[in-house]
């Protein structure tokens, strides 16, 4: 088993009110010096069998067509090596 992580973020030019609400709460927690917060989504896909180029390409297509809406979001796909090492 290997884990593939897809991170999805709103495009930088799009207002993220959730991130802003988090950022505004930080001073109340005594946490200074954070000028901006943006909130995104992380998908962890547990893949059966080896993660080869073909699998990654399929996951990339999945991310592009479904996990992210590329009209408003950007995404990255990466293999998480650490998950393997722990086991």
């Amino acid at each position: 088993m290997a884990r593939v992580v897809v991170d999805v973020m709103l495009k930088p030019e799009i207002l993220d009110p959730q991130g802003q609400a988090v950022q505004r709460a930080l001073p109340r927690l005594g946490f200074e010096g954070i000028s901006d917060v943006r909130q995104g989504k992380r998908f962890e896909l547990e893949v059966e069998g080896p993660v080869d180029e073909a699998t990654l390409a399929r996951i990339h297509d999945l991310a592009e067509s479904f996990l992210a809406n590329t009209v408003i979001e950007n995404f990255t796909v990466r293999v998480e090596e650490a998950a393997e090492a722990v086991k």
Binding site: L10, P17, V71
Partner: protein, 234 residues
């Protein structure tokens, strides 16, 4: 012989019955369509109703967009079938890329439910021809993810080509139904595709077709009489 207008029910649809009723009030025949069924039953037009299909999981409309019925709706909408998306239906249409841009959470982060004033910006679509260009209407609005966003290029194109179908009347007292309720760019409440057969908007015309309900007016009824006239005269 009247027009047959399909209304899709997804798991989590809320306004499918009201939409069927609005179609009936307008004088057309509503036809129930089911999300798992690709068969559109040879309807003359389709409405994607409001609600929270598939719980709005992932993104509003994102999972519905891949339902079997949507395969047929997308294919036939591209071939000219009139399709109206209301609220969640609008979100599904943007997720399906039948309309440009996308829908995100309201800028104030709250669900909003109120009567909303809009201006009809394009009275030349399949769903708006019974309105006057520039007419101001008052219909209910209720949503969590109602913020219309698009990149600058898309917004400029929408504005330049008259594809903004409805705009929130931004200036005035919120109690009277004015104001941009969700941070939508350019105060956009609804848009049309270039052909004018696909229209989506966040507010709910189907809740304002009889004087006793909704805003106490029938400002939403022309959506349904517009499409009926178009289909019957076709």
């Amino acid at each position: 012989m009247t027009a047959r207008i399909g209304v899709v029910t997804f798991p989590g649809s809320l306004d499918d019955r009201d939409t069927q009723r609005a179609i009936r009030v307008a004088g057309a025949e509503p036809v129930a369509l089911w999300h798992k069924d690709k068969d559109l039953k040879q309807v003359d037009a389709v409405v994607l109703p409001g609600g929270f299909s598939y719980g709005d999981y992932l993104r509003a409309g994102a999972i519905s967009r891949f339902s079997p019925v949507m395969e047929s709706v997308i294919e036939q909408a591209r071939a000219g079938l009139p399709v109206l998306g209301i609220c969640n239906g609008f979100q599904i249409l943007t997720e399906a890329h039948l309309l440009p841009g996308g829908m995100l959470g309201n800028d104030h982060l709250h669900f909003i439910c109120r009567d909303q004033k809009l201006r009809v910006e394009n009275a030349d679509t399949a769903w708006t021809s019974d309105y006057e260009q520039g007419q101001e209407i008052h219909i209910p609005l209720k949503n969590m993810d109602g913020r219309y966003v698009a990149d600058r290029y898309t917004l400029d194109k929408l504005e330049a080509e008259g594809l903004v179908a409805f705009r929130y009347l931004a200036h005035g007292e919120a109690d009277d139904g004015y104001g941009n309720p969700n941070g939508s760019l350019n105060d956009i409440a609804g848009i049309t595709n270039e052909a004018g057969n696909v229209v989506g908007l966040m507010p709910h015309p189907e809740h304002a077709v009889e004087p006793l309900i909704g805003t106490g007016r029938t400002d939403g009824l022309p959506f349904f009489t517009s499409i009926l006239k178009k289909l019957v005269n076709a």
